[in-house]
Amino acid sequence: MKKMTYAEAIRDGIRQEMKRDSAVYLCGEDVGKFGGCFGVTAGLVDEFPGRVLDTPITETAIIGSAVGAAAVGLRPVAEIMFVDFTGVCMDELFNQAVKMRYMFGGKAKVPLVLKTICGGGVAAAAQHSQCMEAWFTHIPGLKTVMPATPADAKGLMAAAIRDDNPVIYIEHKQLLGLGGDVPEGEYLVPLGKADIKRPGTDVTIVAWSWMVHRALAAAEALAKDGISAEVIDPRTLVPLDKDAILASLAKTHKLVIVHEAVRTSGFGGEIAAVAAEEGFDLLDAPIKRVTAPDTPVPFSPVLEKAFLPDEGKIIQAVKELF
């Protein structure tokens, strides 16, 4: 084990796979000499000459060319600086990258990682703060990965690169500096395997990305009030580890889902539907969702604080079940 930040762990995951497989390359705006807008890819340009490419501001071509390169045998890690800009390359992602294999009757494979970052809390306003994972989970053929800890960040990045399918890997701005133990050497976290971030017996809280940490803080506070919360981090939304969630419900019989994305058509609705369809008999209380409201992300810090789900809102939702 080695102490690393989340950002360093992502880099370590990319480095591990670039060393292992010369077909892997990294491209995006300012990813090379500058090391990316958030410093995540710092130094890789020197370690892997010719395989870290600074692109023009051209999201369409960043993802479009990655699809083409992947279809003929390379394994691109293509960065979109903020998840908010994926709208620019949406066609390349949802009509090209993920349709190729199915539409061509299994002829093609597109092992592409779209690496990007989401999230609020830094007063970056409506076009630089969003959580849009539900857009991506609604695209069959695409996998959606959202790590919450340094170890997961490394292992999931490596697994995403090794996966033969298009994967969107979404980091979170609030987590970049978070430290933690990360396994040294080759390390992979399989896609589709949830992690119990805190075991408990009275209520299941499902949360991902930054919200895992807010859920853990809430669980800590709830413990003092005699409520034992289990915090489950699915880590990847597609594929979703339904079994882990249902197994937890079999124990707690209560479900609270927390996400930073806005409420309507958020992925929390999908998890609630899974629980209702496949775990109805396990539940003995209504399902609760703690989410951002259905508005764009406001700039002013007082409004953004009201917008974001936090420990207090999670505690309140849990207590309403008891």
């Binding site: 692109t55 908010d84 306003a125 076009q127 700039f299 810090p301 409004l303």
Partner: protein, 324 residues
């Protein structure tokens, strides 16, 4: 020089307003008073002011993430701009937009934009509306050298050219797209060369010389107003400040930046010319500068005192209520 003293004072007031506003914003940001992040327009003042001088309040502009200068040049007020950047209720957007999203539709400023290359087609649409209504209005789209590589550049300019829309595309080639030097992502020296591919005029102008910008922009705006279609102007300049305030600028040397500033500061250029031609005195410029500095101090004081938005504001202005 054919400009009268009153007009020259106007130009200087707008340019020095931008310069001092930006310097104040930089200082406040580093002092921890401003949330989010801010991009400054220092060194590019002659472009926005030189272009907007030939526009009326009825004409439109679209702007960028580096939008404070465009706002001031188009006639937006410093008070509500400052309050917006502080995230206060009295700001132009009630604190919901911040630095990257200031808009003042009352003077035709259709908004700064957090998405690089997001402005082209908005300007094209405003110009289309002007043409359909035969209103005689013109739209100007400001965009960066980095933004010139977005696909929207092609789509917007092509449609505007095909339909002869009254729009002027003003490229601010400040040599940098965040940390990336212009020539590492473009295979041509002049973005204006691309105009040929759309069958419209493409003009390179010294963006640090407001008189050159004025003349070039006026010709393009007149042409658009006369129904002859778009022009692509490339104003060459240099980004004096970091990409954002706090940028460590590891990708260039201080000496390089200083050299550009010493040789090309658009405000110094202006002063040199108007004083040399005996149209204004240094004392005239100093008076305008100190008046502007006072105005900015007052805006800061008011923004500090102003309330933050009420939490209920979170849900306001999402949809238009009611049906017409």
């Amino acid at each position: 020089m054919k400009h009268d003293a009153e007009f020259l004072r106007h130009l200087y007031r707008r340019m020095i307003s931008i310069r001092l506003f930006e310097e104040k914003i930089g200082e406040l940001f580093l002092g921890g008073e401003l949330p989010g992040f801010v991009h400054l327009y220092v060194g590019e003042e002659a472009i926005a002011v030189g272009v907007c001088a030939s526009l009326t309040d009825q004409d439109y502009i679209t702007s960028t993430h580096r939008g404070h200068g465009h706002c001031i040049a188009k006639g937006a007020k410093i008070g509500p701009m400052m309050a917006e950047i502080f995230g206060k209720q009295t700001g132009y957007c009630k604190g919901k937009g911040g630095s990257m999203h200031i808009a003042d539709f009352s003077v035709g400023m259709l908004g700064a934009n957090g998405v690089v290359g997001g402005g082209y087609n908005l300007a094209v649409g405003a110009a289309l509306a002007a043409k359909m209504r035969k209103s005689g209005q013109v739209a100007v789209c400001f965009f960066g050298d980095g933004a010139s590589n977005r696909g929207t550049f092609h789509e917007g300019i092509n449609m505007a050219a095909a339909w002869k829309l009254p729009v002027v595309f003003v490229n601010e080639n400040n040599q940098w797209a965040s940390t990336t030097p212009y020539r590492t992502t473009n295979n041509i020296e002049d973005i204006a060369d691309r105009a040929k591919g759309y069958g419209i005029p493409g003009v390179v102008v010294d963006g640090n010389d407001i008189f050159a910008v004025l003349e070039t922009a006026k010709a393009a705006i007149d042409r658009a107003r006369a129904g002859e279609g778009p022009t692509l102007i490339e104003a060459k300049t240099y980004r004096i400040k970091g990409h954002f305030v706090g940028d460590p600028e590891m990708y260039r040397t201080k000496a390089e930046v200083q050299k550009h500033f010493d040789e090309n500061d658009p405000l110094k250029n202006f002063a040199h010319k108007v004083i040399g031609a005996k149209l204004l005195k240094q004392a005239d410029l100093d008076a305008i500068a100190s008046e502007t500095a006072r105005e900015i101090e007052q805006a800061v004081g008011e923004a500090r005192q102003a309330p933050y938005p009420d939490e209920a504001e979170l849900f306001a202005d999402l949809y238009v209520e009611g049906v017409k």
